[in-house]
Every structure is written in C-alpha cells, then in structure tokens.
C-alpha cells in the first residue's frame, strides 16, 4: 500500500524507513547487511535509483514515493495499491513513476491504482472499476472504454470536460502585485520578487507543484501574511507594502474575497453551525449584526437563500459544518465569498477533494464571476483545472514566476516543464 500521504519517518534514512518494524535483531549487523543487498537488487531490477543512505527529509516527493514502493516490494508485496500517487508529482515525475509501474507489471506484480485522473487510467491500466458513493458502479476493460464514458459513470451523468466559456472581455487592471517577496513562518523566503497583473473580467491561473510558494503568496495577497518587500495595489490604490498593510477584514471591505486553499484549516470553523460559517468574516456587517448584536432572523433567512442558490446539501443552516461533505463545505465557503460580488477574487485549490458534480458547479460559478467582471486569481495544482478555467496562465516554481502564457494552444507538457523548473 502506498498512501496518498506518505508514511515515512522524515528524519530517518531510506534504509531505516524500509526496515522499520522488520529490524529482526537488537543490534544492527548481519540482517542489516542482508537487507542492504536485497534492496540494492530490487533497486536495480526496477530502476528505482534510490540512495539508501539519504535522509527522507532531503528527498523530493517523487523519490519519497519510490521509497514507499520499495518498502512494499521489500516486504514481498505481490499486489501494490497506490492511492492518488500523482497528486504531488510534476509531469516528468509522473512519467518516471509510470515507467516504474509498467516494469513492475511486467515482472508479474498486480497494481491497483486509485485515482481521480482519467488520463492515468487510460494510460496505465488494463481494467477499470468505477466507485461512486461507496458503490462499485462499473467494471470494464480499459481498452473498451474512453474518458467520457468513465466520467459519465463517475457522476452518473455526462459532464463537460472542457468548459464552454465566452470570449474574454477584459477591463482595467484592478489587482497589481509589484516585486513581492514573502517569508514563511520559519523565516524562509518563499515568494521571490513576484509581479502579477489581473484585469477585470479575466481569470489568471497560477500553476505550480505544491509548496512552491503559492500558499504564502495567497496569504500575503489576502492580508493574512506580512509582506516582506514589494507592493500590492487594489483598484489603483496601494493596499499593502512592508510598512503598512490592510488586514483581511479591511481588504474584504475594499472588495477582495478569498477562498483559501485549505478549507478546514482556514476557510471554516468546522465546529460552527452552517449559518455561522455562511457569515464568517462578514458577521460584523449589516444586516448580520447591528451594534454588535447578531441578528439571527436575518442570518438564517440569508443562509437559507444562499444555500438554495448554491445547492448546498442538506439545506439545513443549523447543522454543524463538519457534518457536510467536502464538496458542500467548499460550496459554503464559495457562496459566502462570491455573494458579496467582489472586485477581486483569490481562489486556492477550489476543487481539492471535491466530487466531480461539485467541481463542475464550482467551475461554472467562477466563470460566471469572471463574466460579471471580477478579476480572479486561480491557484491550483490541478493542471486540468488551470487549463480549462484560465484566460492567462502563470507558472510558479521555487517562489518565482517562471513563465506566463496566454491560454490558447498551450500544452500541459509545456506547463509541466515550467512547473518542474526544467526551462
């Protein structure tokens, strides 16, 4: 089993991680040497190319995944289960991984691939089962099916893979970032001299592999994180630099809305009731609160209206938020942030862990916002999402903007190379 979130001890070496639980002796000696030899053989057979003595924390995600695979093989696995193995990888790393998986397959190992990326299914598998709401809804040979058919099985109806969207009608630049540098909590510079311009009525997609500074950038833009140097302009007026910066509430009042990357850590108070989350961040505004007293009748009425409009299920404002599904939690955040008709919308990973039906709904809402003239910054690690929504795409790698493309005939390979920092 290779989990989506790796089960590795970060400050151990590769070797130590692999023999963990199978040490076999009190003082390392003979067994360890034998293990080393076996592992070297395995590495050679499957071209895993791992240095057994390197520490996990020094390895890239792609290599950590290989360590997980090696661990399973060493324990004599005949069936390898991979849970969303490509979520954190660059396209090049995915290619490498698939090569490894193919060679394992040739050696007679069984591979179970759990993924929501249909391309991978078509590319790698020989048979496919589709699971929907805990039920197996279909099983077929991969060569007898296609992506559209699989997608239909997954949602129970056909979905558009490419969104229909009107020609972009852009206005003035409403959100401008100049030479922005941001540090993280450990004082490491994560965003380096970034420049961005977003016009009214366009979606700027920010692609990049997780952990290349997108999180810190979003936090700085929304006023959560301090700006180290550089300036941010909203509607032509400077809102933040290293000396003066508006806090998230003041930015909201100026028409900036933010759908954060991690909905449970930041976007919601999961112990709150749904209606309390639906006014979160806007709770001090009329009609929700008058002279600091919450107006429950108006809040509930508003919540019911908005839940219906955004198809949040179940439509019960009094339910505790953690009882909603991921997709519906995301809809709660989205409805809250979009409802105020913001001039600028920052969106981080809008569809992470969300079912396809909700993804479609969320994408459509974002396009509607664009057509109404909002300037949208879309930060996503899903290339498909960036490609299908954005009018313009910038790629972030190691804290820097490494490329900017108009979104016509740009390929995912092109972007992938940028994301991996190859060009």
């Amino acid at each position: 089993m290779v989990h989506q979130h790796f089960m590795l001890v970060e400050n151990f070496t590769v070797l130590e991680n692999i023999i963990l639980g199978f040490e076999g002796e009190l003082v390392f000696g003979k067994n360890l040497e034998k293990a080393k030899k076996d592992l070297k053989n395995l590495c050679d057979t499957y071209k895993l190319n791992i240095d057994l003595n390197s520490t996990i924390s020094d390895l890239s995600v792609g290599f950590r995944q290989r360590v997980e695979i090696l661990k399973s093989l060493y324990r004599g696995a005949e069936i390898l289960i991979l849970d969303e193995p490509t979520g954190v990888l660059t396209p090049q790393e995915v290619d490498e991984l698939f090569k490894i998986l193919r060679s394992l397959n040739e050696e007679g190992k069984t591979i179970v691939l759990i993924t929501h990326k249909l391309i991978e299914i078509m590319d790698l598998t020989s048979e496919v089962s589709v699971m929907r709401q805990g039920e197996m809804v279909g099983h077929t040979k991969t060569k007898d099916t296609n992506k559209e058919q699989l997608a239909e099985m997954m949602v129970g109806r056909s979905v558009l893979l490419r969104l229909e969207k009107s020609q972009v009608k852009t206005g003035d630049v409403v959100f401008k970032v100049e030479d922005l540098t941001v540090k993280d909590d450990l004082d490491v510079i994560r965003v380096k001299n970034v420049n961005l311009n977003i016009r009214a009525g366009e979606i700027l997609g920010l692609a990049g592999v997780t952990g290349n500074g997108q999180t810190e950038l979003l936090e700085a833009l929304s006023g959560i994180r301090k700006v180290e140097s550089g300036e941010i302009y909203l509607d032509g007026k400077k809102v933040s630099d290293s000396q003066n910066f508006l806090d998230p509430r003041e930015l909201k009042e100026k028409g900036l809305a933010h759908v954060p990357e991690d909905r449970q850590r930041m976007g919601l108070v999961t112990d709150f009731k749904a209606y309390e989350n639906l006014i979160f961040g806007y709770h001090d505004q009329k009609p929700f609160s008058k002279s600091s007293i919450l107006n429950h009748r108006d809040i509930i009425a508003h919540s019911k209206k908005i839940m219906e409009e955004y198809d949040v299920r179940p439509q019960s404002p009094n339910l505790i938020t953690s009882n909603f599904s991921g997709g519906n939690q995301q809809k709660i955040i989205l409805s809250r942030e979009l409802n105020e008709n913001p001039k600028v919308l920052l969106v981080g990973q809008p569809t992470r862990g969300v079912d396809i039906g909700a993804i479609e709904f969320i994408h459509q809402r974002l396009i509607d916002m664009r057509d109404r003239g909002a300037a949208i910054l879309l930060v996503s690690v899903e290339l498909d999402e960036v490609l299908s929504l954005s009018d313009r795409i910038v790629v972030m790698f190691d804290g820097k903007i490494v490329g900017e493309k108009e979104n016509n005939n740009v390929t995912d390979r092109e972007l992938g190379l940028l994301m991996a920092g190859v060009v």
Binding site: G223, I224, M266, D271, G281, D284, S292, L294
Partner: protein, 371 residues
Amino acid sequence: MATVDKSKVPWWVSNLIVPLINLILALFVSGLFIFIAGENPFEAVRLIIYGSFGYIEGFAYTLYYTTNFIFTGLAFAVAFHCRLFNIGGEGQAYIGGLGVFLVAINFSFLPVPIVWLLAVMGAVVFGAAWAFIPAYLQATRGSHVVITTIMFNFIAASLMVFLLVDIIRDTTQMGPHTIALPEEQWFPSFEDFAALFGIKIRYSPLNISFLLAIAASVFVWFLVWKTRWGYEMRAVGHNTQAAIYAGISPYKNIIIAMCISGGLAGLLGVNEILGVHHKIVAGFPAGYGFTGIAVALMGRNHPIGIFPAAFLFGILYQGGSEVTFDMPNITRYMFVAVQGVIILFSGALENLFRPQIENFFVNRLNLKAKA
C-alpha cells in the same frame, strides 16, 4: 463498536442523560467510600438531602454556595469558549473582592444603590485587571494561561496577605481582616427579605447576590451566543487560523475573553464582601474558584448547564457539612473526595460511557422510526 453519527444523537441524550448517568456513577462510587468509612451511605444521602433542603436556613445556605459556583463557573466557561483554560478564578475573585471593598469604603459618601453599582463595577474591573496580565502574556508572548493564571493565584494570595497584614488591616483587631463596611452598605440578606413577609428565620449568608448571579448567567448566554464578540471569541477558540483569515484578531479576543472571565470571577467578591463578611477576610475565596472549573465542565460551559451544576455542588457543600456534623467517621475531607469523584466522572471520564449511551438511544430511535 461503530462510531455514532453525532448529528443523529438527540440533544437530550448528550446533554441530559449522559451527565445524569455520570453523576449517578459518581454517587455510587462515593457511596462505596462512605460504606468503607463505616457509615451507612443511604443515611448519608438522607442527611445530605435534609441538610440542603430540609429546613429553610439549610436551603438558603445551599443557594448561597450556588451563587459562588455560578460566578466562578461562568468565569471559566467564558474563557473556555475561546479555548483558554483560566484556572485563575480563585485569584481573580480574591482581587475582585479587594475592588469591592476599596470602592465601597472610598465612596461611602454616595447614596447606597450607587455605591453598590460602583462596587460591582469595582469587582469586575479588579478581577478583569488580574486576568489581563496573563491574557496579555498569552496573546503577545505565548505564555500559557494555565501556567500564568495558576501562578497569579499565588501572587494574589500573597499580595492580599501583605495588604491585610500591613496596609488595610483593622488595627483594633488581631486578625488579618479589614474594618467592616458601614452597615447601610450591606447587601439585603435573605433574612431581611423573609422579615418583609413577617417570616422570622435564623441567619444564613444568602443575599441578593443570588439575583446578580442569575443576571450574570443571562449576560453570559447573550454574550456568547447572541453578540458579535461571542461569535468572534468562539471562532478564535475553535479555529485560530480561520479567525485570522476572517479578519478576527486572536490577540484582541484572547484579552477580551480573559478579562470578561476575570470580571465574572471578581463578582464572587460582591457576594462574599457586600453580602456575607462585610469586610475582606484572608482567604475568603476558599476554593470556589477551583470548584468553578468542575461546575463549568459539568455544565458543558453553557449557563443553562452551569446553573444545575452549581446547584448540585451547593447541595454537596451544604449537605456535606450536615453529614460531617452527624457522622463522626466522615470528615470534611471525605466530601472533598466526593467532589473529586464527581469531577472525575463528569469531567475527566466524561466520554467513558458516552458512545455506548448515545448508540443505545440512536438504535432505539432508529427502531422506532422503522416500526
């Protein structure tokens, strides 16, 4: 055992049945203690009920204790909604008492109702000020309030002993206490109230602070669930990251929550000084601040829960003293142990039987729904 779907558990199961079963278990274990000590537990229960309900003065005592527990229970609950563990209620109450006394004695030229109002405000301000320092340290330096408030209890106690011995002691007396407040400033007691109706009863410490406690309960309920401040405090308590995202300042809310908490604890001083002693007596908070933690936990940090929990502890305090009076084998410390067992079952082991009980009721309701 399957986990329970929390949304299907009826509110009365988790908020009434579970605490009640925990309480019964605690009483059962306490009964064993009493049995081992060589007394009849049933007789002890009878004495507790007689002591706390059996005669009017006893009942008045029960309500007097309840008053104190409501103040300290509410104090703990308010801070807890912001996920702050304020165990400094004891010290805040002590300093709150100082506020009451200083205000009452220095403004005695004013009409009595105004003095009362000012004295209540004095209690709140002094209690809040004592909570402010740990709150400030928590908000800006990350010094944990559990540590600092506990230390501030000791500092408060030392400070008060110093003041009572060297500065504000009644110099005509030997004991470490102040002079008494003018008699017209004393809070009307239950005796006075009964006398209005021509009923003559003996002394009890119950006074109109009890009404203040009820008012404080309503205030806390309103604050926490009906105002923007309560909303923001709860947001900070449940998810600080999200609060920052929404533009809610954790710094501000930690300080506000602690100051309100300290102010409520300070109100204990009103009951003790205006209502009972009419002067500052060394050590008057007598552990109410700590018991308040148990009261709040048992009452699930909600004023509606805190009231019965405070009443229960009032019964134990009053009924317990009746038992120690009549049963030579049972000492005062026995009842400290009983309290401990109640805290253990309703606080620490609160979730011991919760899943089973909730499961039981959910299954029964499901069966009923099917039938």
